[in-house]
């Protein structure tokens, strides 16, 4: 592997940056408690504080799924590149 450095893709790629953002976003949203520590607007009578955090369960699921798909895409790309290089 080390003898063909010119075909090795860089460690940091735009796809990987997006993956990192998908994984970091929930931390920013959830740890910034001040952004959601309020009662309104309510949703079917449930204060904002509660439904917002439960909505983030869904949002973070979508983000993790996106990260998973992008990671697979990234790995497939690398695998085919590696095959091409060794031939």
């Amino acid at each position: 592997m080390s003898e063909v450095p010119e075909v090795r893709p860089p460690t940091v790629t735009p796809v990987r940056v997006v993956i990192a953002l998908c994984l970091i976003a929930p931390f920013v949203a959830m740890l910034w408690v001040g952004s959601y520590a309020k009662t309104g607007p309510e949703f079917i009578g449930i204060p904002f504080f509660y439904w917002y955090q439960m909505a983030w369960v869904l949002i973070s699921t979508v983000l993790t799924m996106a990260a998973y798909r992008l990671w697979q895409y990234d790995q497939r790309g690398r695998a085919s590149q590696k095959d091409g290089a060794s031939k």
């Binding site: 592997m1 080390s2 090795r8 460690t11 998908c22 994984l23 970091i24 929930p26 931390f27 959830m30 740890l31 910034w32 408690v33 001040g34 520590a37 309020k38 009662t39 309510e42 079917i44 009578g45 449930i46 204060p47 504080f49 509660y50 955090q53 439960m54 983030w56 369960v57 869904l58 973070s60 699921t61 983000l63 993790t64 799924m65 990260a67 998973y68 990671w71």
Partner: protein, 541 residues
């Protein structure tokens, strides 16, 4: 509370209990392999579980009966502060997405059964591995005990717990039976038993939550009324503290506590031996990544469950022991037969994690104490046998704990366990990504975290307890109130980093690393999983 036995509910409860007991024993034959007498088979189910079994197993394992009782109980007691469990479980999945597949790969390549196995292999240090193993066992024991507390809460509400004046033996007999059965099928079937029972447990839990979240609000006049009543109740002054009982929304002063508890707990969850056992039993690396995308379904359920705490207030449930709030709510609101289903869900919800936890603790003992320090040439069959026996000892220990000591002792220790287990994070997760940390520095950091965490938790007083009154304390130097575990963790990391620089400067022996970079990305079916690659040619990413 003990106004007679609820016959119908008890009948339904017993029906489900007998059904899962039969499943537990039959599980030994499920997916049986040829070499059944090894730790891989008994303790990890042959490392053969696919996406769905792993999902049920992890869900059954992480969302325990105690969680079902304690999270709504915390909401019932103080409101918003108890809801940190939701952001906590949200943060767990992006976190494990990054490191769990690496742990799976390296464990698969080298046949690691526990986290301590990995730490020993990576850092070539038996003392560091022993520290991780002991921390794991210490943190797991009270957790098992709390599962029993969960069963007791259900039995109490059904009226079979007996009053204060009943003979102790009669009072505890149902719990003893439940435990003997659990111990017997864990012994015979290993991890396959909880894996199979987890299906029943989760199905019951989902049904109960779905019904509860629709049926109870309708009976109570909608969420508007529920939150209005809860807000009113929280605003009243608690005579013990002279402050309001709680709040509907975390006040500014509590936000640090809320965030640090969520973050610290999220970091700690997959340090627990039972989470790792369930993870390593999966068939491939992809199973784990895929699971991080479907496990959040449980977080949603947990959030809904937490709302039951408000419903208990609105329904006028009055209990002195907050743990009984939710079982009592079910008893008051549901028809008897469905209350029985709900109780069965909690009861079985205790059995699955108790089984996995005892297996995980037993694996730690066998691999990292028995094999490393007592009998280095143990055969796989001997390892499995020792593990089986230790799993019994661990459970009996937990039982004695619950029956002889006050419940608050188990809760205190579980609180401590969370702080302790977090201190193994630098060695484990740090080790998965880099070999830069020095083994002795990691050991010193761990010790500092353990000592500070224990001392700080000891010093927290509450209106009812002089020590271990809570898990939050002023963060030194910041002046905010934060989770002790996270503060200890930061100290741990700082000590580890500083000492690593010092030890590297002194050229202290680094120990042998038996893993290679490629080990961390290997997957089932890869050619490399069987064959050793030449070391250190692949660069890390």
């Amino acid at each position: 509370m003990n106004d007679g036995v609820n016959g119908v509910a008890l009948g339904v409860f017993i029906f489900f209990f007998v059904a899962v007991t039969a499943m537990g024993f039959l599980a030994a034959r499920w997916r049986r392999a040829d070499n059944e007498h090894s730790l891989d088979e008994w303790g990890l189910g042959g490392r053969s579980f696919g996406t769905w079994i792993t999902w049920f197993l992890l869900g059954g394992d992480l969302y325990t009966a105690y969680t079902f009782v304690a999270v709504p109980a915390a909401i019932y007691a103080a409101g918003a502060a108890g809801f940190f469990a939701v952001p906590y479980t949200i943060l767990v999945y992006p976190l494990i997405f990054t490191f769990l597949p690496r742990l799976w790969s390296v464990s698969h390549r080298h046949g690691y059964v526990t986290t301590s196995d990995f730490v020993r292999g990576r850092f070539g240090s038996k003392s560091l591995s022993l520290a991780v193993a002991i921390t794991g066992i210490l943190a797991t024991m009270p957790y098992i005990a709390l599962q029993l507390v969960g069963i007791q809460a259900v039995l109490d509400v059904m009226g079979v717990g007996g009053g204060e004046n009943t003979n102790w033996f009669v009072k505890d007999l149902p719990l003893l039976i439940a435990f003997a059965v659990l111990a017997a099928y864990t012994y015979s079937s290993g991890l396959r038993a909880p894996a199979l029972i987890a299906f029943v447990k989760d199905a019951l839990i989902y049904i109960v939550i779905a019904v509860a979240i629709i049926y109870i609000p309708i009976k109570l006049g909608g969420f508007d009324d529920i939150f209005a009543k809860a807000g009113h109740a929280f605003a009243q002054t608690n005579p013990a503290t002279g402050k309001p009982r709680g709040a509907l929304v975390t006040p500014e002063a509590g936000q640090w506590t809320y965030a640090t508890l969520a973050l610290g707990s999220a970091l700690a969850l997959f340090m627990y031996p039972h989470s790792i056992t369930a993870t390593l039993s999966s068939r491939s690396r992809e199973v784990i990544r895929r699971n991080t995308t479907i496990l959040p379904l449980y977080s949603l359920m947990l959030g809904l469950l937490a709302l039951l705490g408000f419903m208990a207030i609105a329904a006028g449930v009055k209990v002195t022991n907050g743990q009984l709030a939710i079982p009592q709510l079910f008893e008051n609101m549901f028809p008897d037969w469905f209350a029985g289903v709900a109780f069965a869900a909690i009861g079985i919800g205790a059995l699955v994690p108790a089984a996995i936890m005892s297996i995980a603790a037993a694996n730690l003992f066998t691999r990292n104490i028995y094999r490393d320090f007592i009998k280095p040439d143990a055969t796989p069959k001997q390892e499995a046998q020792v593990s089986k026996i230790v799993s019994l000892v661990v459970k009996v220990g937990a039982l004695v704990f619950v029956l002889t000591m006050d419940k608050t002792v188990a809760i205190n220790f579980q609180l401590l366990g969370g702080i302790w287990i977090l201190q193994t994070f630098p060695a484990l997760v740090g080790g998965l990504f880099t070999r830069w940390f020095h083994r002795w520095a990691l050991l010193a950091g761990w010790a500092v975290g353990m000592v500070y965490g224990t001392a700080a938790a000891y010093g927290v007083a509450s209106p009812t307890q002089k020590h271990f009154g809570g898990s939050a304390k002023e963060i030194p130097g910041l002046g905010e109130i934060g989770y002790i575990g996270l503060t200890a963790f930061v100290m741990n990391v700082v000590v580890t980093v500083v000492l690593t620089f010092v030890l590297k400067a002194l050229k202290a022996p680094e120990g042998v690393d038996e893993t290679t970079t490629a080990d961390y990305t290997a997957d089932a079916g890869d050619k490399g999983v069987q064959v050793d690659l030449p070391p250190a040619t692949a660069e890390s990413h």
